[in-house]
């Protein structure tokens, strides 16, 4: 192998590590011109969203300043469900194709889904305290989102365990495969639970949203989707590189052991 690492070479130029391994052809750094452009666009989008959400739009007649959470909360919840959906898709595709690529897609999207779920729960609680007088109500939507968070945490806990990456990938894929069916079952049962005995407590007040408010909300969806995409690509690349480093370390250790054992 002619792999020599120069300390001063920039990461993109260095020779490919782990040559001959099946995951040879992949990204070699976490950034690329395309994702940098996407990152800048998302940042600009967030600046614009912050301006529109905090200053550009008027306060609501019914909800007052609280309406501003409407520009981040539903968006993060949607992206969280998107992450969950991709995690299951990645798991199914991994079980079918057995490619590292799909495994890492599931890993990356589940992790980012968990972050957005947490954000949606926190912003929801911040909204609930002033408008319902309490941080938490046992509403169908809140409860099922909390359960989604727990399911994702279980999945990620399994992922984080040390051991053979292929074994872990197969186990995680099966938990990931059951993720969406479980979310649907939980959601259905919780909805029944809350609606068979009492009227739904949550419906969006002030359903008449139009003009700049509607635009800001939709713009929020676009910006959050962009952020999700950017984060997923980067998380995927970090995971990919981490796998390569692991394999490289094993290769080096084997080479060192062989060199030790060679009689002089």
């Amino acid at each position: 192998m002619t792999t020599e690492l120069h300390a001063d070479s920039i990461p993109d130029d260095r020779p490919r590590p782990g040559e001959g391994t099946p995951i040879d052809s992949g990204p070699h750094s976490t950034g690329s011109p395309a994702t940098r452009a996407l990152g800048i666009a998302v940042l600009a989008g967030f600046a614009m969203l912050a301006y529109l959400g905090l200053a550009g739009t008027p306060e609501d007649q019914v909800q007052g300043e609280l309406v501003r959470l409407l520009y981040v909360h539903p968006q993060s919840a949607t992206v969280a469900y998107l992450g969950c959906f991709f995690a299951t898709t990645g798991s199914v595709m991994y079980l079918w194709k057995r490619s590292v690529w799909w495994d890492l897609v599931a890993h990356a999207t589940a992790e980012i889904g968990a972050v957005f779920t947490a954000f949606a729960l926190i912003t929801g609680m911040l909204w609930g305290r002033p408008s319902w007088g309490t941080y938490w109500v046992w509403d169908a939507r809140l409860t099922s989102t909390a359960m989604l968070m727990l399911l994702l945490l279980g999945y990620l806990a399994l992922r984080k365990l040390p051991g053979d990456p292929d074994v872990r990938a197969r186990q995680s894929a099966i938990v990931g495969l059951l993720l969406v069916p479980n979310v649907i079952l939980v959601r259905q049962s919780v909805t029944w639970w809350r609606t068979l005995h009492q009227a739904p407590t949550l419906s969006l007040p002030g359903a008449q949203i139009e003009g700049l408010l509607l635009f800001t909300m939709m713009f929020g969806f676009a910006v959050f989707s962009g952020l999700f995409l950017w984060l997923t690509i980067h998380r995927f690349r970090v995971a990919w590189l981490a796998r390569q480093v692991d394999e490289l370390a094993v290769d080096e250790a084997i080479t060192a052991r062989i060199a030790e054992g060679t009689p002089r």
Partner: protein, 222 residues
């Protein structure tokens, strides 16, 4: 396939019968949970009777978790898992067998707990058809999902801590459904209870099917 499943189930049940872990440890634990609930909620205020359906099913879940862990603990030593794989029995039959053994133990625990809440909490059960239907369908769901996640966690060093985190959120629909069905049975509004029975049956079917399909690949890693 069903003959093989019966073989596996009878093997597990024979181990249970001879070791008596279920009778000597899990059943007393079930009663202990009921007593602990009584300490936590004042028995004089009638809270226990009112909360019986919920407390009963939480107790079933916790005991069921122990039964599942026990079911895979017996396979952990002496290369028993490899022996199972080498036995030539279809993975789906293995799953059905192990789940059936767990189911039978959970059903016994269900009866112990039913007697327990009747005596200790003074609950009078009505709507027996619905009660029995709920107990059976919920227990099938717990046994099937438990066996599937149990084999997943079986090969891990952190199985005791990971299994509850993976399994209990999955079983949340069972807890909700069975509790509501019991409440309906006790309140005499059985028609609402049968809706919940439907949900429990769907859950059980999904997990029996998923377990039979996915047990093979998971057993390889255990």
């Amino acid at each position: 396939m069903f003959r093989d499943a019966t073989l596996v189930a009878s093997k597990d049940l024979r181990i249970e019968w001879r070791s008596r872990v279920g009778i000597n440890q899990i059943a007393p634990f079930a009663v202990l949970i009921l007593v602990l609930f009584a300490f936590a909620l004042d028995p004089d205020k009638g809270l226990l009777t009112k909360a019986t359906p919920g407390l009963y099913w939480v107790a079933v879940l916790l005991c069921g978790l122990l039964a599942v862990q026990r079911s895979f603990a017996v396979e952990a030593s002496d290369g028993a898992t490899d022996a199972l794989r080498l036995s030539g029995i279809e993975p789906s039959a293995l799953f059905l067998g192990k789940a059936a053994a767990v189911l039978l133990q959970i059903l016994v625990l269900d009866v112990v707990l039913l007697v327990g809440v009747t005596i200790l909490y003074g609950t009078t059960f009505t709507g027996w058809v619905l009660v029995v239907g709920t107990v059976v369908s919920a227990s099938v769901g717990i046994a099937a999902a438990g066996t599937l996640y149990g084999v997943l966690a079986a090969g891990l060093r952190v199985r005791e801590t990971l299994l509850p985190l993976l399994l209990l959120p999955v079983l949340a629909p069972v807890l909700i459904g069975s509790t509501r069905a019991f409440e309906a049975a006790l309140a005499g509004t059985t028609s609402e209870g049968w809706l919940w029975f439907g949900l429990l049956s769907v859950f059980a079917l999904i997990y029996v099917a998923a377990g039979a399909a996915l047990f093979g690949p998971l057993l390889e890693e255990a």
